[in-house]
């Protein structure tokens, strides 16, 4: 019987599989950031341990860097301490680090791929649940907790139970107005927040392979929102073309040889998945979350649902609580909901294509006067690229703020936060209560919808924007 892509990568990374114990899995690349690492480094020091493979470890500041101009100091003393601790720890243990303002700095899941250090067939971990993003490259990438960060630093391995496999096939072509974000919102909405628990998902089908690498990353990024540990897309020419010429990969013949090897990272035709889900791409529509978990999804053209639509008492309750928190009335057309803040950023949607999609909508328009709109590019490289294309000017002319890279309002650790009761259209991945600031109300959308919403002041499709 053939093997799935996940099983191939898994098998290749087994260091030991002692009876009655989890498999000891080798980790090829460990990405580190300031929030989940200080206690891990602390633990190493406490026990007199070192970092086993600094050459398989890469660190960047992202979660709580302010997005103000780099010349302004980090005012929050706690953030400053974390950022300093990251640099000190990396220097002490010999790890390459990109501090705030460094040309390679950015959100950890943006920089791995753009530097070409994320590669097919690898096992990749990071102390952040959206590590699943890297699975777009046909690598097994998943989030870990701080004590696992310490474990990987010390041993370059992780004891792991083998996950089950699930294929999610998005069959046929998606309509032109449907973005990668809409695809993954539909998947999360279908699976529910727990539907993927215990599984590694492989995304398949024409609507997935039609996506660019950036779109695939958006899809894999939100695997965790369906409860899955990781999401994967098989390697194809799109993958290889994306990586060619990046700093982390070799050049010339050496690259082509490597690429040939990468092309084996696909599921065999006769591989069997433990679970399968098929979604008809032609039925997908631009979508938005209305509630406080990412599975609470509705069409942009739809209405806020009512608790009465659910039979399960748990879901009915959850719906009531979400509606109350979100300050929404059942039956309200989504397009009538006004927003206070538009945030375009995060490891879900802050790559260059996302910024291009947003810029195409706002060019020549003005942000509604009631709206604060921010663009936070995913990395300095993305920012530089966008500026070389003049996108910054388009955004600034339209009334957007153009910020320095970081996680920013995705999780509200830095000063970019929603105030109590404020409502956002956000290109991020989590709409939990208080995620973007205490009492803030988050609606997850694609970059194009976020951009149109900024112009209109209420949720809107790009087609509604225009002279």
């Amino acid at each position: 019987m053939g093997r799935t892509l996940f099983e191939k990568i898994w098998d290749e990374h087994i260091v030991a599989s002692p009876e009655g114990e989890p498999t000891l899995l080798y980790i090829d690349l460990h990405l580190v950031h300031e929030v989940t690492s200080p206690q891990a480094f602390d633990g190493l020091r406490l026990n007199g341990r070192t970092v086993r493979r600094p050459d398989r470890t890469l660190a960047t500041a992202d979660h709580n860097v302010p997005t103000d101009p780099i010349s302004t100091p980090v005012n929050d003393p706690v953030s400053r301490r974390q950022l300093e601790a990251l640099e000190e720890n990396c220097h002490e243990f010999g790890i390459t680090v990109f501090p705030r303002g460094h040309e390679n700095q950015g959100i950890v899941h943006i920089i791995g791929p753009e530097l070409g250090v994320t590669q097919p067939g690898m096992t990749i971990v990071c102390g952040d649940s959206h590590t699943s993003t890297h699975g777009a490259f046909g690598s097994l990438a998943f989030g870990i907790g701080t004590s696992e960060v310490e474990h990987v630093l010390a041993t370059q391995t992780l004891p792991q139970q083998q996950a089950k496999t699930m294929s999610v096939t998005v069959e046929g072509k998606a309509p032109a107005a449907v973005s990668a974000k809409d695809i993954v919102l539909a998947i999360v909405g279908t699976l529910g927040t727990g539907g993927g628990a215990g599984y590694v998902i492989e995304y398949r089908g024409e609507a997935i392979t039609d996506l660019s690498m950036e779109g695939r990353m958006t899809v894999c990024n939100m695997s965790i929102e369906a409860g899955a540990r990781a999401g994967l897309v098989a390697v194809d020419e799109t993958t290889v073309d994306y990586l060619r010429g990046r700093p982390g990969v070799p050049q010339g013949e050496e690259f082509e040889a490597l690429a040939n090897h990468w092309r084996t990272y696909v599921s065999d035709d006769d591989a069997v998945f433990d679970a399968e889900l098929v979604i008809d791409a032609s039925k997908l529509v631009p979508s938005i979350t209305w509630g406080t978990n990412p599975a609470q999804v509705v069409a942009l053209s739809g209405m806020v649902p009512s608790p009465d639509e659910f039979d399960d008492p748990d879901q009915k309750n959850a719906t009531e609580r979400s509606l109350a928190y979100m300050g929404l009335t059942p039956g309200t057309p989504v397009r009538d909901i006004e927003v206070d803040v538009v945030f375009i950023g995060s490891c879900t949607n802050s790559r260059i294509e996302d910024l291009r999609a947003a810029a195409a909508v706002v060019e020549g328009q003005r942000v509604a006067s009631s709206v604060r709109a921010l663009i936070v590019p995913g990395s300095h490289r993305v920012k530089k690229q966008a500026e070389s294309e003049g996108l910054d000017k388009i955004f600034l002319d339209a009334g957007f703020e153009w910020r320095e890279p970081g996680c920013s309002m995705c999780l509200g650790m830095n000063p970019d936060q929603l105030k109590v009761g404020q409502r956002s259209a956000s290109t991020t991945n989590r709409n939990f209560e208080g995620r973007q600031g205490r009492g803030g109300r988050t609606h997850l959308v694609s970059p194009a919808v976020a951009a149109a919403t900024a112009i209109k002041g209420h949720f809107a499709a790009p087609s509604e924007v225009g002279p």
């Binding site: 260091v15 009655g20 000891l24 080798y26 090829d28 690349l29 989940t36 200080p38 206690q39 602390d42 633990g43 341990r49 050459d55 398989r56 470890t57 929050d76 706690v78 953030s79 301490r81 974390q82 601790a85 390459t96 460094h102 040309e103 390679n104 530097l115 250090v117 590669q119 649940s129 989030g143 870990i144 907790g145 701080t146 004590s147 696992e148 010390a154 041993t155 370059q156 391995t157 004891p159 927040t193 727990g194 628990a197 409860g227 540990r229 700093p247 982390g248 990969v249 490597l258 748990d314 309750n317 959850a318 999780l411 650790m413 989590r430 939990f432 209560e433 208080g434 995620r435 205490r438």
Partner: protein, 205 residues
């Protein structure tokens, strides 16, 4: 970490489903670089509310948390476990848990007891009827009991987690028993490293 065999304490019911890690410990708290003191941030968005269950005097000092389904979903932050333990919880009982949360818990000695929803509801009722009732969790026998009410259920733990709790084993130490295998793997693996990719200032070569 300390070995855990039998836990005994009073319990507090948190009757909510989908308590995610952002709610267990809001992100403000993630900025700390220490490992201690997170208990003050536990459920901090709810603690201002006098009617929140942890503010109920009858549950003060409870060391076992009983919650609704899908407890601990969301982000990978281990701070959620630190917060629960720093506050004084030694175990969480719920119908289901977030994967990463469950995993993080087992590494630090927070005991995760998964029971069918009806049993969790039954247990919550017992505690609501009388908050002084003691709950006993036996990690060795994989049993949870309210002896005073004659209530008893068994639960499952994967064998490794059970052993680890019973012995108080540290993860890294366990793995390094296999260092020879790791070294051998490293000599045969061809996965690229970062050698030569960046200079000492982190600039791409």
């Amino acid at each position: 970490m300390k070995p855990v065999r039998v836990l005994e304490g009073r319990a507090v019911p948190l009757e909510r489903s989908d308590v995610d890690t952002d709610q267990i410990i809001p992100s403000d708290w993630l900025k700390r670089v220490e490992r201690t003191g997170f208990g003050r941030g536990l459920f901090s968005e709810w603690r201002d509310d006098p009617s929140f269950v942890l503010n109920d005097q009858s549950y003060v000092g409870a060391s076992i948390l009983i919650a609704g389904p899908r407890f601990g979903t969301g982000s990978s932050r281990e701070h959620a476990v630190w917060a629960l333990m720093d506050y004084g919880f030694v175990a969480v009982i719920a119908p289901s848990f977030g994967d990463i949360f469950r995993n993080n818990s087992s590494k630090q000695g927070l005991v995760i007891v998964q029971l069918p929803q009806v049993d969790v509801e039954g247990l919550i009722q017992l505690i609501k009827d009388d908050a002084t009732r003691l709950v006993v969790i036996d990690v060795d026998q994989l049993r949870v009991e309210v002896p005073e009410a004659g209530w008893q259920r068994s639960f499952e733990l994967d064998p490794m987690t059970r052993e680890r709790l019973l012995h108080g084993w540290d993860d890294i130490g366990l793995t390094m028993r296999r260092e020879a295998a790791i070294t051998k793997y490293e000599t045969t693996s061809h996965a690229p490293t970062l050698v030569g990719v960046f200079d000492s200032d982190g600039h791409a070569r």
